[in-house]
């Protein structure tokens, strides 16, 4: 029973909750009842704590809009399906692993996805004729997002492998403060780059919306507003706070853990935001195929959509695992007093 209970406890709380339940153990019945009472609260709390509400909102909108575009008569079912999917995503957030996925598995997945991308391009390259002049640039340009994602993931795997993990035993206050300042500076640079890129994307996006005309205007302007909101938020709230003067080791450790998690959530959201225009285009391609009665075109829209979703989730798993590893290392960290 202990093994089952431990499996049901979300990984981030497993160490403390499983240990507490073990310490309170008096009989199997008492243990089972205590676990039964504690688990729903622990799962709900972890889901709330790890949930990224803007990201869940974005994912919900992408999913709902995709289903409704492809099957306009199913709006009620689409809503139900979206809510179910969001519930699953919330639970997945609660059970977020505290370690990075094994590099071997990540590389195998990347190879598998690369193979599928190759097949996709070979099929596309067989001369599938697209008579619609508005759609052809999308078909040619957007599938590049897949190899781009595969490359990014491979890069991220190597990058995480190379990163120096935090030492899991002791650190002096000064060492940790230096480490935190370095992290805050990297976060500041990453956010600055994202803001510049968002403004550039908005400029290009405005041009594209004007070029493609009224057909793409509603979704185009909505995406541009979303990009503008994200840029404004990053500008106002994205910065990691500076270390307070009177902070002690425990306060610094808490701030560091909090910021690691927060910046991780920002990056998670940004990955999905960057690829949301691609999702919109994939849905447009699939919808065009449905309207024109060309199932191959529908598949050309839906397959990259699934690939892209998988790759972004994998990228976030990789990075999220690295963030969680560091948060656990910080929780275990002791202060080493300088001589």
């Amino acid at each position: 029973m202990e093994g089952v209970v431990e499996l049901l406890i979300p990984p981030a709380a497993r160490e403390a909750v499983a240990g507490d339940l073990r310490e309170l153990y008096s009989s199997p019945r008492q243990y089972g009842l205590a676990a039964l009472k504690a688990l729903p609260c622990v799962i709900a709390s972890q889901a709330r704590r790890n949930a990224n509400l803007p990201l869940l909102g974005l994912q919900g909108v992408i999913l709902y809009a995709s289903i409704v575009t492809l099957a306009p008569a199913w709006s009620a079912e689409a809503m139900l399906l979206t809510l179910l999917a969001l519930l699953v995503l919330l639970l997945r957030d609660a059970y977020q692993p505290v370690r990075r996925p094994a590099t071997r598995i990540a590389i195998l997945q990347t190879q598998g996805v690369s193979f599928l991308v190759l097949i996709y391009f070979m099929t596309l390259g067989r001369g599938y004729h697209v008579p619609d002049s508005q759609l052809s640039p999308l078909l040619i340009v957007l599938p590049f997002s897949m190899p781009l994602l595969v490359t990014l993931r491979a890069f991220l795997i190597l990058h995480c492998e190379r990163q120096q993990p935090l030492p899991d035993a002791e650190m002096t206050f000064e060492d940790m403060a230096r480490d935190y300042r370095g992290f805050a500076e990297r976060a500041r640079r990453a956010n600055g780059l994202e803001i510049v890129a968002l403004f550039l994307a908005m400029a290009v996006g405005t041009g594209l919306v004007l070029y493609f005309g009224p057909a793409t205007a509603p979704i185009g302007w909505a995406l541009l507003c979303l990009f503008a909101l994200a840029a404004a938020w990053l500008l106002l709230r994205g910065t990691a706070p500076a270390l307070q003067r009177m902070a002690d080791f425990a306060a610094l450790r808490m701030l560091y853990r909090h910021e690691l998690a927060r910046q991780g959530q920002i990056r998670r959201f940004m990955w999905w935001l960057w690829f949301s225009p691609a999702f919109a285009c994939f849905v447009a391609i699939a919808d065009h195929g449905l309207v024109a009665g060309r199932p191959v075109l529908t598949a050309f829209g839906l397959i990259p959509m699934a690939f892209t979703g998988f790759c972004i989730a994998a990228l976030n798993r990789e990075r999220g695992g690295w963030v969680q590893e560091n948060i656990v290392a910080l929780a275990l960290m002791r202060e080493r007093r300088p001589f």
């Binding site: 403390a16 073990r22 609260c41 929780a331």
Partner: protein
């Protein structure tokens, strides 16, 4: 940092952490909270959820101890009150005091009778 207002249960959990000092972790906090919340019963899960919320508000901090055999090789998650938590608790205590004085002024001796009845019933 802005001062956070605390809910009643949050006040009890923070007071328990303050009272326990170095020994504040899940099991001991739950026991202390149960003692402070009498006659109400308190579940361990509610304590975990509140601790998570308080940590997220950065009112308390936590760290993992070394694993012990009594806990099946698992670590304890210890909690400590942060300065912002102390400030929030002080504000709550002052509010509670003002509230208590206002009620006492109106009810006078009957307040103590009601309290004795509650204790007797429990």
């Amino acid at each position: 940092m802005e001062s956070s207002s605390l809910g009643q249960f949050e006040q009890i959990v923070i007071a328990a952490i303050l009272a326990l000092g170095e020994d504040a972790y899940g099991v001991t906090i739950h026991a202390k909270v149960a003692e402070l919340s009498q006659p109400k019963k308190v579940s361990l899960g509610a304590v975990y959820a509140t601790l998570d919320r308080l940590e997220e508000k950065r009112l308390v901090g936590s760290w993992l101890s070394a694993p012990t055999a009594a806990r099946g090789g698992r670590s304890r998650r210890h909690y400590r009150l942060e300065k912002s938590g102390e400030k929030a608790l002080r504000e709550s205590a002052l509010t509670a005091r003002r509230l208590y004085e206002a009620i006492e002024k109106s009810f006078g001796e009957t307040l103590w009778k009601a309290k004795r009845n509650i204790v007797r019933q429990s």
